[in-house]
Subunit: 138 residues, 3 copies
């Protein structure tokens, strides 16, 4: 069994932001030389997500609107009694998901036609880290 481990660093400019990281992950799969295996991609922060969906700007806005309706940013959260103001972001990340596991087949992400990997930031404006770990066989 072989493995590749990488902590990607992203500079997030906005508080709430979706960043397409598919090509970065595909490069790491290539670098790993692993032909058959699994690729785990997860947020290393608990107010951020990694998820798979479509690259379409309207959809990104739909997700933001949906999350804001479900758990408004300026609602009252017990978590904010600690001095934080990101209570909503812990909930948003839970809805969108922490991680994805993607099949690697013949040294490529084994994807359907529209699958794209996104990093979802919900409390940004600073450097954030994404875990990528690939295990399998050459």
């Amino acid at each position: 069994m072989k493995s590749l481990t990488k902590h990607l660093v992203l500079d997030t400019e906005d508080r709430v932001q979706f960043i397409n990281i598919t090509s970065k992950i595909q490069e790491l799969v290539k670098e790993s030389k692993i032909k058959e295996g699994f690729c785990l991609v997860n947020a290393m922060h608990i107010t951020a997500s990694v998820f798979i969906n479509d690259e379409e700007s309207g959809l990104k806005q739909d997700f933001k609107d949906f999350l804001e309706k479900l758990a408004p940013q300026d609602d009252e959260y017990r978590h904010n009694d600690t001095g934080e103001d990101n209570g909503y972001a812990h909930i948003w990340r839970t809805i969108m998901g922490r991680e994805v596991t993607v099949a690697i087949t013949d040294n490529k992400l084994d994807f359907g036609p529209w699958e794209q990997i996104f990093y979802g930031e919900f409390d940004g404006r600073r450097k954030k880290r994404i875990m990528v770990k690939i295990i399998g066989e050459e």
Copy 2:
């Protein structure tokens, strides 16, 4: 390390539908001859889910009612400005989840008593694909 890769094809008859795929996945585990490992099952479409819950018809209706309440099918979605009418389905799949990873022990799905694997279709009435990848050791 050994692996087995399969793209299952399902014919979805309804727009919204839950299909129990547990026995299909168990057959593939047997076929793989892998005794100890992981089995990844994921939707290859971004308006569909793979998730684990109970085989009970009332519960399936509860899930549909819950999703419809949260993100109604005929609400307005920016995504639908592209000519699509499945904005809700991208959100439903996000709530239900894209994938499951299941432990394989002694060449079987290592499940609790009620765990069953479902494919959740939210924009169906055509052929859809499910990714199954098993890695581990004989």
Copy 3:
């Protein structure tokens, strides 16, 4: 490839409860002697979750309030026509998630600074089981 399989047993005292299991999982990683690999942790019950978030009491209350608002415990659920009274719990577990896959690097959970693993019980007051499976290389 090596593997370690463990079914943890927890005694849940409350109907709804979050239990931090991070140190238990870290011990199993150490016991496995696996240096590079993946650790899968999942609920073996379909009214329970395993998820990763912050160890902070206010946040745990926020999650309970959020779930209660989304799918109230005493709403009507078709599932409850079977004689059950835990319809809400199947939905809560879906929102919070069944499982996490965590990267193992150098025989440790490869975590960001605040990541903690929780078992979320939504229909407790009896013994429950959690699946832990670790695969990888020494």
